[in-house]
Amino acid sequence: MEHKAVNLFDVIFEGVAQYKERAEELVAKTIEEKGREAVGKLPDTAYALPVIYAITGEKLETVGDLERGLEMAAARTNRTRYLQDALDAGVAAAMYTEIIQACKYIDGKPHPEHVQGHLTDAMVRSFGVALVTQDIPGVAVIIGKHKDPEKLAEIIKSYQNKGLQTYLVGDVIDQAVEQNIKMGVELRVIPCGYDIEDVINVVSVAVRASIMFGATPPGEWIKHRIYTRDRVFAFVNVFDDWTPKIIAAGAAAIDMGFPAITETYINEVPTLLLHQPDSDKVVTTSLEARNIKIKVTEIDCPVSVSSAFEGERVRRDNMFAEFGGNRTPAWELVRTVGLSECEDHKITLHGPDIDDESFKAGEVVRLPLGIEVKVAGRAMQSDFESVLERRLHYFMNYIEGAMHVGQRNITWVRLTKEAYEAGFRLKHIGEVIYAKMLDEFGKVVDRVEVNIYTDEEEVKRLEQELARPIYNARDQRLDSLTDESVDVFYTCTLCQSFAPAHVCVVTPERLGLCGAVSWLDSKATKELDPTGPSQPIEKKGLTDERTGAYQSVNEVVAQASQGAVEEVTLYSILEDPMTSCGCFECICGIMPEANGVVIVNREFGGMTPVGMTFGELASMTGGGVQTPGFMGHGRHFIGSKKFMSAEGGVERIVWMPKELKDDVADRLNKTVKELSGIDNFTDMVCDETIATESEAVLEFLTEKGHPALNMDEIM
């Protein structure tokens, strides 16, 4: 077939001119209506207009600043013969679209409820770990309108099944809605908006990944585009005819290393701009274009199994069956047995299944549940059991139509009606666990056998006789694991694919700041992948016991960070604090007037007593940068005796969001009690329901007699 070639650069510049016109109109109108002093930045981000910030290094905060943005974009638009200038114009297009977006957001979210639009910093940070581990192996951006909505649904589901994030721009949103595609950040299908300009929301995510995790300096665009090219595996699918605006946006994408695949022919650029008229080949073409390799595990299961379903919630109205959740007993257990005691791939259900005749149609099926996973392997160690067991939570959540909450004997599982209708039965839980266990832990696990108990007697008996003794033994082992009792710590450089200068030092009492990697995890990781991200650090050369400074730690960190960080301490947030990648669960910052620290978790969107939101606090660090006074960390670390012990420890905590405070209360109170004899410490810790203003917080602390007030000056 003959394809008409065009002057590609003419098309790009035409598109940029169209964006420019719209941006100029909107800015003029907004200035007229709101005045130059009105707030012009996007909500819930510490980076104002993040894309423009990354490109130019300037934060555009007010409506008046948007005029400056227009000038900077115009300065990047120079028509010459060369690709560089065409791509620069593409970047200008991104700037115009972000300005347009800012104008649209001036009175709050401009999109209907089901459209996500702009993503908050906290959302971007929450993707961090998944992007790093390739749990999200890629990012698809679908633009336009598909001729055949059913085919579109197939494409979206195909990406979802592979764990990719899919962003929708344009009519494809409504087409996906019609096709009953469930959408939302947690399902990895994210509607950006109906205008082509809304594509900036994805660009903004990629750029913020570079700022947050890459610590790429704002204003150094070349570094940003190299970061996104090498580390954010995004690509674009354009359906229906292209327009100059789409191609101009495509130029920005190409500048960032994101290939575009078009349904309608336009001059092709190998690896970057491809023509694929066959809808059935769009997915494979796209994955190959971005060199995304999907690990395929064949699982005998009637519904999809993919990390993309991890965030799926099963609500009451759609629930077919429920286990645990205080209504029935439920537990799960992974235990090591000898090779001879384990029959590989044997899955046995002891008790009734969810389709048992005894259940009445239309009523929620409620059953007790005991899941016993027997693993055997020559390289298996009992210390790894808990690591494997924690993964059960993820494996079960990967099932489309299943929700898993909790762990051990507080397990809570729900299944949807759709899953049941698709033929999902309890043995499929066993199949998923079997396949995933071998897939992820094949180096240590040779055989897996799964027993699923639903007989109430049996579930209760085994919980007492089998599960509890093992849980207890593990707890004792964990309690005995202190930084003093072991000979090695571990590095964790898992995030270096995203934050090249960052390295975590994981100790028994200080887990990785993402909250996902404990000392035992590291130990298992080392076993699974001997040259991988977790490498042992021999504990020697203690130079300062108070701050936890070791020569060996410094040497390894200097090496693993390629010289970016030369000295870190384990227990101080003021003296050479440990760095952060950017995907931390919590951030802790000093509140000098309270002589203590506040801790904010990622989920909390409100203001804190230090005058900064989580996003703003988080932007102070991350990307492997040491910022004394700020430190990212996992939730679990809050209850550790080693938590900033150099500065006085957990008793310095003066403020936390209520949800976080409640979550960590048990462990934290126990620790404080042991250290200083104070009971119910968390009652002395302020939260947002009490106060967020500095003075009111101080008043509360004084009233409660918070111990931090009487400690040495923190600074």
Partner: protein, 631 residues
Amino acid sequence: MSNELLEFDVIAEALMEKASREGAETMWDRKKALKTQCGFGEQGICCRICAMGPCRVSPNPEKGPQRGICGADRDTIVARNFARMVAAGTSAHSDHARDIVHAMHLSSAEGPFKIRDEAKLRQIANEWGIEGSDTKETYELAHELAEMALLEFGKPFGTLKFLKRAPKVRQELWERENIAPRAIDQEVTTLLHSTHIGCASDYESLMRRSLRTGLSDGWGGSMIGTEFSDIMYGVPQERASESNLGVLDEESVNIVLHGHDPNLAEMVVVASKDPEMLEIAKANGAKGINVVGMCCTGNEVTMRHGIKIAGNFYQQEMAVITGAVEAVIVDVQCIFPALPNLVDHYHTRFISTSPKAKIAGDLYIEFDEHNPYETAKEVVKVAVDNYKNRDASKIEIPDLKQDTMIGYSVETTIGCLDRVVNTQVDIEGTVKPLSDLIWAGVLRGAAGIVGCNNPKTEHDYSHVTVMKELIKNDIICVTTGCAAQAAAKAGLLQLEAKELAGRGLKEACERANIPPVLHMGSCVDISRILDIVARVANERGVDISDLPVVGVAPEWMSEKAVAIASYCVGSGINTYLGIVPYVDGSENFKKLMTEGLMETTKSVFVFEKDPVVMADLIADDIEEKRKNLGI
């Protein structure tokens, strides 16, 4: 002594001073002795074709003698002189090719001449319509193909087989304009006939016949030389090497291979690894045997074996002056007759080997094509034995060498392009990715930069400057011959050189993992450039003259270069020359070359001495072609 024409070469001055100190004469001494070169010769208006002359006519139409004794005017004289250069150049490439085909005719499973690339043998046999090209026994097929190729030089009827590679519209143009070349020898002979006293005087007719002879080089002699060398010695593959005089090894027996033909050189490379030779070398106190290449023999062996590149044409004397070379072994073309005198000042032995290029002085060991390995061993032995005669006080090897990537034959280049093919969209093994890059504007176009060195211009400067200017402007460069060696020494043939390229070319280099300037081989291998350009034109269904591609010879000097320029223009490629050929004496002929040919071949010669200006002209030329294509 300081020589402004060598300023670009940072190691030249010290070596020239050394030569002067040691009483060794170089090209620069001789150039000086010649004083001002002959102005009539320079303008091409001196005719000594018959014995009534020499007739020197006036360059000025207003005064002085306007015609020679026979009545030939300046247009005729210039055209005939030009034609004779084309004929000589074509004969050189083609006679070289004939030797390769001869060797193939002598090949056998037992060797020493063997078929190294059977797939390519079968592919060419198939292309030429030999029945059973897939099934015939290798050497039976090789001999049949060789015979067929030998007939290309002298067949009584028909045109050359490789013309079919050109786009259909170009083949039709050749037919229409009566410039489709027939047998190679016939084209050379008939052109020489036309220039005989009392034959052609119409300068346009002479030009047309020159183009046809030139085309018999490009699509005939050179293409056969390239393709059959690949069959005999292997298709060049991407590999790393090093370049410049620093590749000479102070502790090894250094052998410099110089000339153009791979037949002897291939055997020398093998002989240099012969345990017997290595043993003698060691017994004489050397660490080993270091074979390095110079000029196009160097290109042939670097492309196929990664043999290090000592340097290009103008460095042939400098290599000897280092005092570290045991033997210079030469075959044909571009060898200074001065070398035997030069080696008298050093322990170096100079060995000529071809009856076609027996060079007076020092040693002559004739290459015996029936016992090639014996000849090779004999010459290597001369070198090895000579190691003990070194004069340590005269050794001065410049401490300069450059990492270099080489080996970009058409097949290898397509293999690199396969790296960017999305198999869901396109098939592998084509030039479509290259044409896509050009059609999208990521690459603006392509330039083939080729040719020699010439003391009329600063050595290597024009080559390197044109290349740097072009790659900066997203124009990908391919290069052969001494231009390729200039690029190698300047570091342009390494992957890192992408940093000197514009964004478009840089992206292309990064994604295909290639340098921005691709070494395609020796001067006969310019046929590879024709091949790849024809493939792109065929991919898009256009003529070669429609493509945004140019030929460039910034520092040429040999008659072969005149033949090359003629076949490039004959093929529809605008060809830029940094040295004006001997045509200034005829305004009419010059105008025909630079404008008139546009009507005949849709392409012209462009003369421009300043490489920066030349690069600008090329960029504009390329943009004009793009405009006409609507891209």
